[in-house]
Assembly symmetry: C2
Homo-oligomer: 226 residues x 2
């Protein structure tokens, strides 16, 4: 294997588009989610985001990064005004429609209309869910952390409603998102399906980790059961 080595000066001198592709590839596989919001006139908005990150289970907190985006920030404005948003996992059957949501539509035009995705609502949440998504949740804004280094914002919220296809929730709470055909993205625009290698047991010093079944049982136990 020949390792290509880029220094800080090399990175700085790269062409802007090339650099965006390259640096976006470094973090590894990313989540693909649609963030649903609405403005003060109840106009819906949908944004595709690859930076949603788990922050903690108690309280159930989730974060994502908003980029400055040339002064247009429909999603962030909506979140600031309504305090609510939805996060909707994207699956194989809708990934092209989800990607279409990254086009720069004018503020008054809903990405739901342009992408062909459908909105639905629940009581108490002033933000639209994506009907086609099989795992989605409503989030209440808790904190917006400005990142001065590059003028981005880290948006943190608490998960207040979870809706998920019940068949894929395992006995130990693990949600089999592969069974939902949830996709992952690498770089800016490469979408991928997944194939499970294994679940692994909780790691402890001086004990080798074991493979687990999707339900969280040790493989030995599982074989014994069958």
């Amino acid at each position: 294997m020949i390792l290509h080595h880029l220094t800080r000066d090399d990175i700085k001198s790269l062409n802007q588009r090339y650099k965006a592709q390259l640096i976006n590839s470094l973090s590894g596989f990313k989540s693909v989610n649609l963030i649903g919001t609405q403005d003060t006139a109840d106009k819906s908005n949908l944004a595709i985001i690859s930076s949603v990150v788990h922050l903690g289970a108690s309280p159930a907190l989730v974060g994502f990064v908003m980029r400055p985006d040339n002064g247009e920030r429909h999603t962030l404005d909506n979140i600031i005004n309504s305090k609510y948003y939805t996060i909707n996992q994207v699956s194989i059957d809708i990934y092209q429609k989800a990607h279409q949501c990254s086009a720069r539509y004018p503020r008054q035009e809903s990405e739901f209309l342009h992408s062909g995705l459908s909105a639905h609502y629940i009581s108490g949440v002033s933000a639209p869910f994506v009907k086609e998504s099989r795992l989605k949740y409503a989030v209440q804004l808790k904190e917006i952390v400005p990142i001065a280094l590059n003028n981005t914002q880290f948006i943190i919220g608490e998960i207040i409603h979870i809706m998920c296809d019940e068949k894929v929730i395992q006995r130990d709470g693990y949600i089999d998102i592969e069974a939902l055909n949830t996709v992952t993205v690498s770089g800016l625009d490469s979408y991928h399906a997944s194939t499970r290698l294994s679940r692994l047991s909780y790691a402890k010093p001086n004990i080798l980790v074991e493979k687990l079944s999707v339900s969280g049982s040790t493989i030995e136990t599982l074989e014994g059961e069958e």
Copy 2:
């Protein structure tokens, strides 16, 4: 499809372990990276992290979330002292060794030794790389953002050296991390390989997105070339 609906009260009343599995599954597929650091006595440390997130390309910034972890925070202490760390993508051939690094080893014992992974160094970076990783980079600490809501920290750094198997860097800068066998994780412990669905063209209003080859060419152009 029957949607299982959990409210905020339902979520709060879940058993702690079940809740950790469930909430960790919500964000979608996550990156799997090993963070390499060393202490003031040059003792190496390796931590497996699923929260690395792209923050921007110019400057090239990357972030990740550190959890409080019962007062033990070898990685964070090392980063604060040395100001440098490495981020190493995890591939199929080393994912079990990488998972082993999540065991709670005492401060004086290196995860390199216990996992069977090998360290290497480059001049000017006081942190170890993982030799077996085919895509890795050195990062200089820029900012630690405390998240008071749940006592986590968001660690932000600038990418100052990139080392990558040169065969997988495409003409437009996209790095084919699937060709590197880079893995992704769902929940706390489920590891997955990937299968590319497609790259998609840059989305614009009123133009349907097109499938692209892995090199970023439109499929039509690619067929014409062959």
